[in-house]
């Protein structure tokens, strides 16, 4: 069973946004934690829901992001940390599947 860290989650998120990043001429390794996926146009509200679904499936957890401050919800660093924290809290059932960080 691998530990789910913020870095793992971050890599997962960037993998999901890879195509949009390429559209903007950006590479995953150049992206800062402060990047707001929504404000930058990398993701819309539906895209965000799809991302949440993907993260839940990959990490085998149920996410509850309802109380994350809205200004942090779509920002790469805080979102990665929040997801990693919830993964750790649900660690008993957490496994990491097919992730290549």
């Amino acid at each position: 069973m691998s530990a789910v860290t913020a870095a793992t989650v971050r890599a997962l998120i960037l993998r999901e946004c890879e195509e949009s990043l390429a559209d903007f001429g950006m590479r995953a390794e150049d992206v800062a934690d402060e990047l707001d996926l929504r404000q930058y146009g990398l993701i819309d509200s539906l895209g965000f829901l799809e991302l949440v679904t993907t993260l839940e499936a990959e990490l085998d957890i149920a996410l509850d992001l309802g109380d994350l401050p809205p200004e942090e919800l779509t920002v790469l660093g805080p979102l990665s940390h929040a997801v990693a924290e919830q993964a750790a809290a649900q660690r008993g059932t957490t496994t990491l599947r097919a992730v290549q960080p």
């Binding site: 929504r38 819309d44 509200s45 539906l46 949440v52 996410l63 992001l65 309802g66 109380d67 809205p70």
Partner: protein
């Protein structure tokens, strides 16, 4: 501030004819020191908001005196100027024409030019959008940016227009009383048009007043209420937020743009008593886990409109806001914001819902609905047909478009009144039952609550690609409509990135396809039309 210290226009401007600004003016007299607006970290009392609005009105009156047409544009969002601008334009005796900062410059320019406005009110956050928007507008405009300290630089960049800033503002008490015709346009809203050109819906003062009267009565709105403001000004549901609030001295609470995606904290922190949004917001919050039981104890009313309300969202929201009643409102812009409603009451509502969607209910007092076949004859109770409605909320029709007005605003056989053809398929209710929404009779869809004519997207893509065989579909499907657009083009040689870039120049983001699929040719159905069902099945197959 005492009421007698208010600008004289508060009392004088309203005259004898009631218009859309009258409720705000009365609240200014009765509750000058109560909060009218919270936006962008600022709270304005009724007296303060009135002063800002009256200054804008007086400045427009003096510097942009033209009344042909009596319409003034507004490019502003989620700022003091956005709301003072709406009120200022109304106090000046004009109807407002909202532009949308999120729309491409070309679309805003088209709305501005087609409306024939002589002036536009702009907030500070939109300054960078002004050159792309106004640089190519030949007709000289008055551009009023009430918070701009140094207008000279902007004026130099827009030499054909008259740019006015803070230093040019007239004092509020310089406003001369203006007469308003209750049958005149209160606001002109452009909605997606099936032939590729947005349609301007002309909404009269008396239409909105009929709506506001029903709403404030039903919801018992009073000075203690705090209402949400979630909608863009180009979305007519924003008129509910503003004018229902100000009719009775309540406070309008406008969250910042970033809070709209997940507004749970905003609802709690702002201690809202009335929530009003598209159901997509509820879908989103439910999915993120924000609809926890008793999460929003301050809410008295939870209202949804703009697209089908999923049963699961109604149920979860009712538990999250247990002190509130959940209501599903229904109505196209042409029938003034909303004209039918349904209250969610748990188990019985579950039984009355069809396809997992909450009923649209029964018409407002004064409005009458009929359900008809293609010849506009009433269908039997229990059968499905197109919903037509008549009453005081039937708007004036489409701006400078007699043909489309005549096609949509009709007198059905055996009737004397003008009915609006909604294009919505509903089941004609059996006695005492609510109407249920079944879909569209045409190719209009809702994308995250936004009204979208697929024909308009197809027209844009035809122009961008030079290919006639184009079909746009709502995809992926969500609980309450569609999440985005996907298009098919019948030509393998099309430059997809270029077509998408062209679409972005012309269409609001929610209308730009997420993907364009190229096929050698598009499938046809038995009638020789493009087979949308087959294309949808293709998407389902690859999902």
């Amino acid at each position: 501030m005492r009421a007698d210290l208010l600008a004289p226009s508060v009392a004088a401007a309203s005259g004898t004819q009631r218009s859309l600004r009258s409720g705000f003016e009365r609240s200014c007299e009765q509750h000058p020191e109560r909060a009218a607006l919270e936006v962008a970290g600022t709270t304005l009392t009724y007296a303060q908001l009135h002063e800002r609005a009256a200054a804008i009105a007086a400045t427009l009156q003096r510097r942009a005196p033209g009344d042909e047409p009596p319409l003034t544009a507004l490019l502003a969002a989620r700022s003091v100027t956005a709301f003072a601008g709406v009120l200022g334009i109304l106090l000046r005796g004009h109807g407002y024409v909202p532009l949308n900062p999120k729309f491409p410059a070309d679309r805003n320019r088209e709305m501005l030019e087609r409306a024939g406005c002589g002036a536009v009110v702009v907030d500070m956050e939109r300054l960078s959008a002004l050159e792309p928007l106004l640089g190519a507008v030949q007709r000289p405009l008055v551009v009023l940016v009430p918070e701009l300290d140094h207008a000279g630089e902007l004026a130099a960049r827009l030499p054909q227009h008259t740019v006015l800033g803070a230093a040019d503002l007239e004092p509020a008490d310089a406003l001369e009383p203006t007469a308003v015709d209750p049958d005149g346009i209160a606001y002109l809203l452009f909605t997606s048009g099936s032939t590729g050109k947005p349609k301007g819906v002309m909404v009269a003062h008396r239409n909105v007043l009929a709506f506001v009267d029903v709403m404030v009565e039903r919801y018992g709105i009073g000075v203690g209420d705090r209402l949400s403001q979630t909608f863009d000004l180009t979305f007519d549901l924003s008129a509910f937020d503003m004018f229902v609030t100000w009719e009775r001295g309540a406070c309008l609470c406008c969250p910042p743009e970033e809070a709209l995606m997940s507004p749970a904290r905003f609802i709690r922190d702002a201690e809202l008593t009335v929530w009003f949004s598209v159901p997509s917001t509820g879908v989103f919050m439910r999915r993120l886990g924000a609809l926890k039981p008793d999460a929003f104890p301050s809410l008295r009313w939870s209202l949804f409109c703009g697209e089908p309300l999923p049963v699961e969202v109604a149920r979860a929201w009712a538990a999250a806001a247990p002190n509130s009643q959940v209501e599903n409102l229904y109505g196209p812009t042409e029938l003034t914001i909303a004209c039918a409603l349904y209250r969610w009451v748990g188990e019985r509502s579950l039984a009355e819902s069809e396809h997992g969607v909450v009923p649209i209910g029964t018409p407002y007092a004064g409005m009458r609905a009929i359900v008809v076949d293609e010849a506009l004859r009433s269908v039997e109770p229990g059968d499905a047909g197109e919903l037509l409605m008549t009453g005081p909320q039937v708007t004036l029709g489409y701006w400078q478009d007699r043909e489309r007005t005549d096609a949509a605003f009709v007198v059905p056989p055996g009737e004397e009144a003008v009915f609006y053809r909604t294009g919505d398929r509903v089941r004609r209710p059996l006695d005492g039952r609510p109407m249920t929404y079944l879909g569209r009779v045409d190719h209009q869809i809702k994308v995250l609550g936004h009204r979208v004519e697929l024909g308009e997207i197809e027209a844009a893509l035809r122009e961008a690609t030079g290919v006639d065989a184009v079909v746009a579909l709502g995809w992926p499907l969500t609980e309450s409509g569609a999440g985005a657009i996907v298009a098919f083009v019948g030509d393998l040689e099309v430059d997809v990135p270029a077509a998408l870039a062209a679409a972005r120049e012309r269409l609001p983001a929610y209308m730009v396809p997420r993907a364009i699929h190229l096929l050698a040719e598009l499938p046809l159905n038995a009638n020789g039309k493009f087979d949308r069902r087959a294309l949808r099945e293709r998407l389902e197959g690859s999902a």
